[in-house]
Every structure is written in C-alpha cells, then in structure tokens.
Symmetry: C2
Subunit: 358 residues, 2 copies
DNA sequence: AGTTCGCATGATAACGTTTTCAAAAGTCAG
DNA sequence: CTGACTTTTGAAAACGTTATCATGCGAACT
C-alpha cells in the first residue's frame, strides 16, 4: 500500500516545464485534489480536515495532514471565497498614510481586523477631481471586499464617501457625526471646547484658532472652539487656515508673533502647533511666556518637543478598533447605522501658561 | 421584444427575503448571467465586453453595457482570480506602520502597485516569539497573493523573512544588502559614513552613535559610522542603544549632557535625535553650541524642529516604488534576484556646528 | 437475528468567471 | 450564385473549493 501511495506523491505537473524560454517557473501549486490523491481519501474529506466542519477518523486525518505538509499545500482562497460567498478583505480608503493620526487609526483597524480573521487593504486615494476619485474607487471595488472603512478626516475622504455605492458594508471614521452612516468618531467638539475653556481659564482674553483642512465647512475642533468662546462671551477672531505641510505652521507663527495682542493659539493638530511654535520663537517671542500655543491629537513627538505641547489625547488605535467593530456588525447583517463616540482627554504640558502681564 | 426583456429585468433574488428576522438583507449581487439574460445575449459575450478580449458587435455591446449599469453589476473578482490564476494582491509585512519611514515606504509601494493594477494589503506583525510570527505569516499566506514585500528595517522584519516560504515572489526592503534575496535598499552605509565625516570635518575629535533597533547585528548607518571613524583614525566610542519609544532619546540625551567630552552625536533616526536634543537642552547645555546632534531619515518635522536637524534625506517614497518594481519583475517570471540601491544625500541644517573651544 | 439509528465517507452539484472550440452568419472573390 | 474565408456568437469545460445528499457500515436495541 505504501508503494501505491508513493507512486502518487507528486501532484499533477503537466505544465511545469511549459517551454524552454521559461528559465524559472513557480511549480503549479498543489490543489486539494492532489492532497486527496496522496492521502488516499476523497476530496471532501480533505476539505473537512481543513475546515473542521465535520468529524474525520483519526487515522484519515493523520494521513491528510501528512500529505498537506508533504506537498506544501495551501488552500486557494479565491476558490474558497467563490463558493462560500464570504469575503475576508476590508478596504481602508484614505488620502494619506503618513500623517500620524491616519496611520495610527489604520494600525488600529488592522489589529482588530486580523483578530477577527479579516485582512486590510489600503487604498490611498489622492484628492484631485471627482472623476479621478470615482475611477480609483471603482478600481478598488473590483476586489472581493467584505466592507469598507473611509477615513473622513479631510475633503478627500468626503469625496471618496460620495463616490461609494451604499450596497456594501461601510463605516466612516471622523471627528464629527453627520449623516446617516455608521460612524466611529472622536468627540472633537467637546475636546475643542474644553481646550478653549482651559486657555480662557488661564486668563487669556480670547483664543485664536489655526485650523487644518476640514472635512466639511468646519471641523469639530473649530466648532467646539467657537462655542466655548461664545459661552464665555469672548470675541471670536477670524480663523487662520493651515495646510498639512509642515512649513505652513511656521509661516503662520511668524505672522502671529507680529501681533502682540495675540496671547493664545489653539492649533488644529500637533504638527501645526510645532510649526507655529517654531515661527513664534524664530521671531524672538517666547512660548509659553509671551504666547501660549496648544495642539490636538497628542502626537508621539509632542511630549518631546520643547516646550512640551499641551494637547488633547486622541486614541487613534481605539478609534480604528471601534470602526472595525461597527463594520463587523454590518457584515453580520445588522441593519441600522451605529455610532461609537469617545471623548479625548486633555494633556497638560508646558506650551500654555497665563498671558503676560501688561 | 422589449417586453420580453422587461420581464427579465430583475436578477434572480430567490433568497432576497430569506426570513422574517432579517430586516435588511443586501440583495444578492447581479452575476454575469443576470446581465446576459437582461441584455439578451450569452454569458461569454458579456465577458468579452467586460475584458475587451474579443470583438463584439456594436449593437450587442451597447445592450450589454446598458444592462450592466441597470443592474449595478460588478464582476466577482474571486471567480476571476480562480479561473485566470492571476492574483492582484500584494502583501506588505511590517512590524509597525506609524513610524515615519515605514509609512512613507508603504505609501510609495501602494502608489506604484495601484498604477500597475495591484492592491496592497498591510500585515502588521509584531515581533514576539518565532512561533507567533509563523502563525501570523501563514494566516496572511491564506490570501491569494501575487507577491510579498517585507519591511526588513528591524528584527521583526528579519523574523518575518525567516518564516516566509520561497515559492512566492518576494522582495525585502532595508538599509543594507545581505543575502540572495531581491532587495530594494537605501545605501545607509555610505550616508552614515558621509555624515560621520561631515562631523569630523567640523573639528570634532570623535562622534558618538545612538543606534535604533537594528535588523541584524549592526545596521548600515552604524557600519558607515564605524568605517568613517576608522578611516579618520578617530577613537570608536561604545554604541548607545535607543528604542523606538520617543522618551528613550530624552533619557540618553540627559546622560550624554553629563559628559563634557562628548561634542558630537550621530543618531539612528530623526525622532531619536529630537529626543536627544530635548534631553541635552533640558540639562542646560546648548545644541549645537555645546553639543552637535544629527539624525537620519529627514523626518518632515526635522526642518521645523529648533534647531533644524541636520540629517540624511531618505527618499522612502522612491524606495517603496523600487521595491514594487523588483517584485513586478519576479511576478512576470524573472529568475535572478535583482537589487536597487540609492544613496541618501545629506541635509545640512542647524543642529551641528564646530565643537566648543576649550 | 433483524431492524433501526448514527456516523464517517464519497459522489456530485454549485459558486461566477474566462477559455476553448465549434457553429452560425456574414463577406468577398470568382 | 457558389465556395472559401473571416467574423461574431454561444455551448461547454475548467478553475479549486465547500455544501448537499445519498450510501455503506457498524453499533445498539428489540
């Protein structure tokens, strides 16, 4: 008997040497049929061993497992996906992966997805015109996707969301709740308001705001800032817009430093705050003695920066995990859009202080 | 005739309402057979319109395209992959996505892959024990992968590489060439040596080195540093090891500042350099007046840091693109391992200066 | 001992495409 | 008007897996 098996050890390799020009051909991978033949059992039995869906006698299971390692067999997941109809890939669509908040969120999604047996594909979709986004999106939709998570932190994310069909599980991640979608959010509005109140509480007459590119007219941080100022009866100065580029904060800081009436600046994120601080310091004023500058996100370098940056701690890892949970709910057939919100706590460091006495 | 078609407009939906408990069921997606039925043509004809593989009369093509938009048909890529045997997913395996160099490389890979019609899945595999890595790797291998790119910047990457079978297209990305694999590298050794020579040229007696977790015994930056010191006949001080954690640099900086004989420090990357600078400044010494501190990578925040950090510019985006090109070569059946190397240029900013006069 | 039950097993269908291959329908030249 | 092409079309097979169903076998019960 062992001889009969030995005869069959090699899988079908008819096309292994398909021509003299192919110098190195990856051998055609073993299929479940090859395993069955080598193990001397039927195809479904191998499948049962693989999936554990039904009982198989110890002796046969043993034979199958030996055949599997011998042939280096790996299941073809395309065939699996086709027959089971179940997809295991989750697409994350975003305009950028190098910004800290973005990559940290993606890593959170990835970890949660992997634990649940899903894989994450990243689609970086830059914002150009709507047609371009459409094209990129439909390309991604060509994949066998179980669901999609969109990082809606900026205008590109909004555009992506617009291009997406609604017949597939979908979750948006952002800083503010809006439409009827399933959303994982960090409550930026509350945190922005708290940060503003903190600065006012230090004695500043008002707080200036440097905003990052918002996903809609105004992001949650800005709204919270505006509300807190209104509550306190403080004047609302015009918003200063920064870009994602590192230098943009520096230029703004330079401009801010020229105005001695400005004593407190709330920046849309920590990177911008670092730039603003650099600009202010470059023009000879001190932070926080002359001007207080605070950020948002708690970037890993914020605690290292000198002065350490007072900020709101966004737990992007948890945000990503919550986004995945919401998506998993939909994949399982849950009907109604769900929301998950968390409120970022303040992290007090050294970059904010009472205003200078005049 | 139009009526006959109208009767058939809806795709098969037998299981659309599969039970009273399912309140919202995603309709079973239209298949190519549904499209064929609605358009009144055969299944292969629809396929031909889709792939453009053969000519179809204008009138039928028109009918098919109308049916496609009407049904919102999207091809099932699992079925496609199954029959064609071609895979379109590339896995990037890495231990981290939030470190700047890592995420920038991944973005470069992603952009190049998308242009070539591939998708990128990210596998974050933390380094614990070898068995754990094995498990994570074989899980990822369950996907229908066209190829794999491993970010071999650290010990985790090395372990991942060890767990990977060699019967699948594979490229490693790192800072130094070693074994027979296809590799995309940045020539860290040359850049490390150049940086060290630069510091010696400013008049420093020797240069201390703070290293980040290396992928093997010593990374390219360290080797270049060692060689340049030897060339110049300078003493080689013991290496100081930092971790990826932001604080670790600060602690090291504190220690370094206590030793007045140390005037030049070459850090393994910019984040660590920022930490070291913070630590040095915290203990009352000045950078670069008392101590010169330089980094590596050209992190986007390095130009904003005060003082601006002198560093070596690593083009991670191009690194990622080169890695993908190498992989594409293998996927097309190229036999021999290929290499691609690039040399990072120095970026002179303000954090290094001649040593203080004694 | 005969019948029924439970369980392991294998044959076969199904999933949604693309790829042959053969047939049908034109098209052109003689 | 016929024969030989070329082009367009459809039928059927194939891809590798899981799901369904029937079968055979031994054990347990009457």
């Amino acid at each position: 008997m062992s001889e009969a098996i030995a005869d069959d050890l090699t899988p079908a390799q008819g096309d292994l040497y398909s021509g003299p020009t192919m110098s190195r051909t990856f051998a055609k991978p073993a299929s479940i049929a090859d395993v069955a033949r080598v193990a001397g059992v039927s195809v479904p039995t191998v499948s049962r061993v693989l999936t554990g869906a039904a009982k198989v006698s110890a002796e046969r299971r043993e034979r199958v497992q030996r055949a599997i390692v011998e042939l280096g067999y790996r299941p073809n997941s395309a065939a699996r996906a086709l027959v089971s109809g179940k997809q295991t890939i989750i697409a994350v669509m975003t305009s950028d992966t190098t910004i800290y908040g973005y990559s940290a969120t993606i890593e959170g999604i990835e970890v949660a997805a992997r634990e649940a047996g899903f894989f994450v594909v990243i689609s970086v979709i830059e914002f150009s015109d709507a047609a371009e986004v459409d094209r990129a999106v439909s390309l991604a939709l060509g994949q066998p996707l179980a669901g999609i998570i969109v990082l809606k932190f900026d205008p590109a994310g909004v555009q992506i969301l617009k291009s997406l069909p609604r017949d597939i599980p979908l979750v948006a991640v952002s800083g503010e709740l809006d439409d009827s979608l399933s959303q994982a959010v960090l409550d930026e509005e509350a945190a922005g308001a708290e940060m503003t109140r903190y600065l006012l509480g230090l004695g500043h007459a008002t707080v200036h705001h440097v905003s990052i590119p918002p996903s809609r007219k105004e992001d949650g941080r800005t709204i919270g800032w505006r509300k807190a100022l209104a509550e306190a009866g403080a004047e609302t100065p015009p918003i200063i817009s920064a870009s994602w580029a590192a230098d943009s904060g520096v230029r703004i800081g330079l401009g801010l430093a020229a105005r001695p009436d400005i004593t407190a600046v709330f920046c849309g994120n920590d990177e911008v705050a670092m730039g603003v601080i650099a600009g202010v310091v470059d023009s000879g004023r001190r932070v926080p003695d002359d001007v207080s500058v605070v950020g948002f996100d708690d970037h890993p370098l914020s605690r290292i920066w000198r002065p350490g940056i007072t900020t709101a701690m966004q737990d992007f890892g948890s945000l990503g995990k919550r986004a995945f949970s919401l998506l998993a709910l939909q994949i399982e057939g849950e009907e109604s859009p769900a929301r998950s919100s968390e409120r970022p706590p303040l992290v007090i460091r050294a970059s904010a202080a009472p205003p200078p006495r005049r």
